[in-house]
Assembly symmetry: C2
Homo-oligomer: 138 residues x 2
DNA sequence: ATTCAAATGCAACCAAATTGCATTTAAGTT
DNA sequence: AACTTAAATGCAATTTGGTTGCATTTGAAT
């Protein structure tokens, strides 16, 4: 388990107080966070531009990855695979959105079978998004 | 193959000139369309509110379904299964986004494998989104 | 031809996210 | 420890994607 400082260093990012605070939100949550989630968690202490730019640099350096869950805001979650770096994400896991609590989780354990593409298509990456009720809400 | 008029009738929607025009864009395209795509195709002849509301009513009546492809705009594509109606979509197929031409296609033939959820999760729906190069761009 | 709910278009609005620019700060160098 | 500089930050303004309120028009059932 790295500290926020180590994690930033490992991905080539300068350590700042703001980045530490934002990164720790991800480390303490077990679900994907949107800008609004973060803004609420840090009690609106940071300018929104800073938060958005921080999310972008975290994503570009492979610390977090985008989670599509059909909501109007983009969400992000920590990359756990360790294999993520700049512009090379390795998140072949399943994203699960709970229809009751509206949280979206990364199910790192669920294996996604490799799909067979029709003739002529070349597959680079696949992502699976499922909905239902999470453990707490079932 | 239904005409646009028949298709609207079958889904309980009033036939209007605007709906005909918009629906025919979907029938002529083999890929998912965003508001901007449609606006360009019809040469900005309709108010954006009309287009957005038309898309919403098409979706709610089961004529088109939402396609998430990671782009900033929501896209839609015709429901081909025939099993779609109001608030009951049956689009268990794969969506494929081409990284070169940036079009997103419905691969109706590629079946989505049923995933095994971890203990405690209840699964309601699943959707698969893949990226790569399409037939034309390979 | 009449009727009326549904569809349309305009203006205004809202939410999410980005850009330009001046200021501050982290971290390497003397 | 002070110096330097590129990167990070914050404010204001803007852009983009989409929605709401309301008055007018239109499709299709009588």
């Amino acid at each position: 388990m790295s500290t926020s400082k180590e994690l930033l260093k490992e991905h080539g990012l300068k350590f700042t107080e703001n980045r530490k605070v934002i990164l720790e939100q991800f480390m303490s949550a077990n679900y994907a966070l949107s800008y609004n989630d973060i803004d609420a968690m840090i009690a609106q202490k940071l300018d929104k531009v800073t938060v958005y730019r921080t999310l972008k640099s975290f994503q570009e350096s492979g610390i977090i990855h985008e989670v599509m869950d059909g909501s109007s805001q983009v969400k992000y979650a920590l990359c756990h695979s360790g294999a993520c770096s700049s512009h090379h994400h390795h998140d072949a896991h399943v994203h699960f959105r709970c229809e009751k609590c509206d949280k979206t989780f990364c199910l790192d354990d669920v294996k996604v079978p490799l799909l067979q593409m029709p003739e002529g298509y070349k597959l680079n990456s696949q992502s699976v998004f499922v909905q239902g009720f999470c453990r707490k809400c079932s």
